[in-house]
Symmetry: C2
Subunit: 242 residues, 2 copies
């Protein structure tokens, strides 16, 4: 599989190189902002039980944020500093994919965060084993799959026209995610170098590092393309098409 090829090409990553700090900072902010967005979207829930369920999902994101935050501190990094470069692209992703209904928020929580998790997992495979284990532990998709898929399927059974609209929404979520991932890779050469399998020496703070190489950016697109199987399985679980 391409997974193994990529891992082999990466070789042993530095224990806490700038790429790893970037990765943990990206993940930490992704979790923090997902917490806030899920909590905000829960206001759209039609029932108190639904609000409670979404609150539960949101809280699991905060717990993951806390672990990643603490790990950054352990590695001697300033967690807020490490998260800062990712505030703009992740906020932009959320701003461009603001759910207009309860069902859209559910699909986003499942499909959007699902493909992001797949992507983060793939990135982490290129880092040291401890980072890999932590990232794997902080991927939260499984808990929400059943809750979301059942609700979306039931809604589509009630009103089959929803299937087309929500499929389109899912496609938009993935398109926007790819676009933001490209933007992150372009701005964070150390992170992109993780992808490219390079062991580039990072400038302090990453701010002065060279621009990402075009090959690293192409790698982001290839990685996303590799994630389609899991994405298609999520769509199918909800009764949507790709």
């Amino acid at each position: 599989m391409s997974e193994q090829q990529t891992s082999a090409a990466a070789g042993p990553a530095p224990a806490a190189g700038a790429g790893v700090i970037d990765l943990l900072g990206l993940l930490a902010y992704a979790r923090l902002v997902a917490f806030f967005r899920l909590a905000g979207d829960a206001e759209l829930a039609p029932t108190l039980a639904g609000k409670g369920e979404l609150a539960e999902i949101a809280v699991s994101e905060q717990a993951n944020y806390r672990r990643l935050h603490d790990r950054l501190r352990e590695l001697g990094a300033d967690p807020e500093e490490a998260m800062r470069p990712f505030v703009v692209p992740l906020d932009a992703w959320h701003a461009r994919t603001e759910p207009q209904s309860w069902l859209e928020s559910l699909v986003k929580a499942y499909v959007g965060d699902g493909i992001a998790d797949d992507f983060y997992r793939r990135l982490a495979e290129l880092a040291d084993p401890e980072t890999q284990a932590l990232v794997r532990d902080t991927l939260v998709e499984s808990g929400r799959a059943e809750f979301v898929a059942a609700q979306v399927r039931a809604a589509i059974a009630d009103d089959p026209r929803l299937a087309g609209r929500l499929s389109l929404w899912a496609r938009r979520l993935v398109g926007e995610a790819l676009s933001q991932a490209q933007s992150v890779a372009a701005r964070r050469p150390d992170l992109a170098a993780l992808l490219g399998g390079g062991a580039r020496e990072a400038a302090p703070g990453g701010a002065e590092a060279d621009a990402a190489e075009p090959g690293d950016l192409a790698m982001v697109s290839r990685m996303f393309a590799d994630l389609t199987d899991a994405h298609a399985a999520r769509l199918e679980a909800m009764g949507l098409s790709g």
Copy 2:
């Protein structure tokens, strides 16, 4: 102290009478909505660290919601049914006290939830020991006191004019809380009867019970008046006046 008098007057409460289900339902919804509001207010935080801290506080509210929710189920009640009567007054409280700044949200998280907690604790003293213990465990004020007080004091040191404005804000929070507590007591006679120390037999679901007696409503005001010491201490910790 008046605490002991009230407890003595109440006598042994029924293990899961309608008053206790009402109390747990009120608290569960109070925690759930506090979770959402705190998560929403965190967007006002000027720093990533502040956002992270408020997320932490919000999450502790969700954990308490979960415990109260589970306890309602244990008692054979439908948790959503038990929470429903309190949705309108608690949502109204939050709508009337929507913070317009980070400092207002901090003062609200400390003063507003502080006085509400004091009130809930006092109510719980009138219920059975197990309910008392659970309610005591789910009062979360202590965790946030230090974080909030330090930030508000620092802001006032920077700009002393803030003290007057925030003192007014704190007064408004308490006024609105009293008004909503009165409205809850008027609508939920079983809960008001807990206050009044009566052992009134509850109609199923509480919906058909008699209207609250005027004495029960007066009791709400007296209870609030009793809470001023703790309230004054919180104001002082932040450098505000009553």
